[in-house]
Subunit: 172 residues, 2 copies
DNA sequence: CATTCCGCTTGCATTTTGCAATTGGTTGCA
DNA sequence: TGCAACCAATTGCAAAATGCAAGCGGAATG
């Protein structure tokens, strides 16, 4: 192991990658929120990340091999960030983290419905989602027949259903 | 959500608990290494945690409900730390983190054999391990018949086998 | 041609971390 | 009884990370 690493333990090395308050938040927004641009990540983040921290983490995630950056052909100033295979395979970790948080922490209903769906879908749903991300970010051929609702669409629909139901309940 | 939380998203809330470089390391050493005392955690940690950080994190993990502390009846100065159910259900997250790290990060063979075994065993092995931890830390009745090798023993045996094989290879 | 938007960068205050030494007390052994 | 070793921390201090607000040059938009 290199001198930069505290130990060769896989859990420790994973923590050296994610052991901060922002890296996984950024990846979550890219994976589940479909965000690809700096501004989307900056303004869309529920948690309010600062621009200097976002810039630093994007750079770090690129150096670590979790993200790549490319010019947006439609806009010379825009950069498009893409997930690598390394980042896409974080889906099971995200699912487990969400499932655990849903049980033990004070989550809100509308923000945890996605975690619930992902938990119920289990590994088959995670695999489908990862295939969709490979199509979206790596240009891999889609594996699901066209017309099938994507996992992200399903998660989004469930989220909006909860929001609508809660809004209705408020009116009553 | 309370004002202390950045958002009610389960992944974010989980990160607020584990989004640092030490909390999961401590829990890893308790779960997989069977460590229960301050000194064991301090000296046994491969990564070399400082005593002030360890003290701070143990306190924090207790406040969060992941650990409890009790007097050691055999030694007035010793404290015994125990995992709560909340901490025991981290086993699947640990397993996924280990599995991911094993694939993508520069792990050493002897330190990743446990992650490999845990991955291959899948949820049934995780469940058995969690039952053993409930027995050890919460006093729950054991579910496996007496005489069955524990998961921790299996993991330890596999680790030592790799170490022995590598030592032999060095001699040749 | 002014405004907005683009991905950052800068300066600066606050918080967290890491290291080494030390604390007050307990235990085990001679 | 005396004393070294051990116990779970705590203290002081330097260094690093974080967070906030403002600003940058350039490009797109109206």
């Amino acid at each position: 192991m290199s001198a930069e690493h505290r130990s060769g333990c896989p859990i420790n090395l994973s923590l050296e990658v994610f052991g901060d308050r922002w890296s996984l938040i950024i990846l979550r927004d890219m994976i589940f929120g479909g965000r690809r641009h700096f501004r989307e990540l900056l303004n869309g983040s529920l948690e309010g990340i600062a621009s200097n921290i976002l810039a630093d983490r994007l750079k770090r995630l690129m150096e670590l091999g979790l993200l790549t950056k490319a010019d947006d052909p439609s806009h010379k100033q825009k950069a498009i960030y893409s997930l690598t295979e390394m980042a896409i395979t974080l889906v099971p970790i995200m699912a487990q983290l969400g499932a655990w948080g849903r049980v033990w922490l004070p989550v809100t209903e509308e923000l945890s419905i996605r975690a619930e769906l992902l938990e119920k879908g289990g590994p088959p749903l995670w695999d489908q989602f990862m295939d969709e991300l490979r199509h979206e970010h790596l240009g891999a051929p889609p594996k699901t027949p066209p017309g099938t609702p994507t996992v992200r669409q399903q998660l989004r629909a469930a989220y909006e259903e909860v929001v609508a139901r809660k809004a209705e309940a408020t009116v009553d």
